[in-house]
Symmetry: C2
Subunit: 171 residues, 2 copies
């Protein structure tokens, strides 16, 4: 599972970009591709990997090259857009594939993205959040199995608890 964010970032987008990275990591993607990777973001994600485990990667890549590489590798490209076909109508078809590149739009998505994607998928046709659309798509594609993912080589691990906070610390 890979994720790509199409488009350049705006200044106020930093937090959204961080959320896109962390959601991709937490929900089982191996990497996210961004058009520009700033060192601050990279440090944030590295720190999360070191503390909470796993080897999720933030990679720099222009969307078109990332799309072409995905096609070569046999990945199905799912572009998330409020203009697309409802997720619930296509989910059975999507699940027939086993390797994906999920593309989320930034401020300006070129028309070519719609053409090159295998599927243009809408998580509701209402305006909301690319972070939420990505989360629901990753969740449904993997049938919720991603929630059970174990992250290796961690320093901290949460012990789920009905009340309060329990954290295991590796010494």
């Amino acid at each position: 599972m890979r994720v790509v964010r199409v488009g350049h970032r705006y200044v106020r987008d930093y937090r959204t970009l961080t959320h896109l990275c962390l959601v991709s990591r937490a929900l089982g993607a191996e990497a996210i591709y961004l058009e520009e990777v700033e060192s601050e973001l990279l440090e944030t994600v590295d720190a999360i990997n070191k503390t909470w485990g796993g080897d999720f990667e933030v990679r720099e890549g222009k969307w078109k090259k990332v799309f072409h590489d995905a096609k070569k590798e046999g990945r199905t490209i799912i572009h998330l857009t409020m203009y697309g076909t409802p997720l619930q109508d296509e989910i059975s078809n999507l699940r027939k594939h086993d390797s994906f590149l999920v593309a989320v739009g930034g401020p300006k998505v070129p028309g070519e993205v719609y053409k090159m994607a295998d599927y243009n998928i809408a998580v509701t046709s209402q305006p909301h959040s690319e972070v939420a659309a990505l989360a629901i798509t990753l969740h449904d594609l993997q049938k919720g199995e991603e929630l059970k993912k174990v992250f290796g080589d961690y320093k901290l691990k949460i012990i789920p608890s009905p009340r309060g906070k329990q954290v295991e610390q590796k010494t």
Copy 2:
């Protein structure tokens, strides 16, 4: 379905706050409660309602009062926290209830929130995004039915399309 965000906002949180509002709206909640409602945010959500329909509300309210009111109304309070019980382990229990207040944390969540909530639920025990955690919870609680919600009294409506953009404009 109602949502409350516990805690005050930081300056750089404006976008996250907007996403929480729009995700709540798009995924079928009737209202979100925030500790402080700024006019800019209210205008954004009002504009979305006017254009895309529905009557979703952003309401101002201190979390404790919102929790107390929810209890009086018989709502089940689900507090989303990475320290909680995995969503996938509790979802069948949660679905036995039919009226909810979903609480998402801001920067500092008081310990009392963990005690007053009926459930403390984790959407993975990894750090990611309250927007994503909210989206997956609303989605699973409503078994995906929320994706079919129709918003009344709209000016614009998207006609789902496998390629490109189709929008119906009410005249």
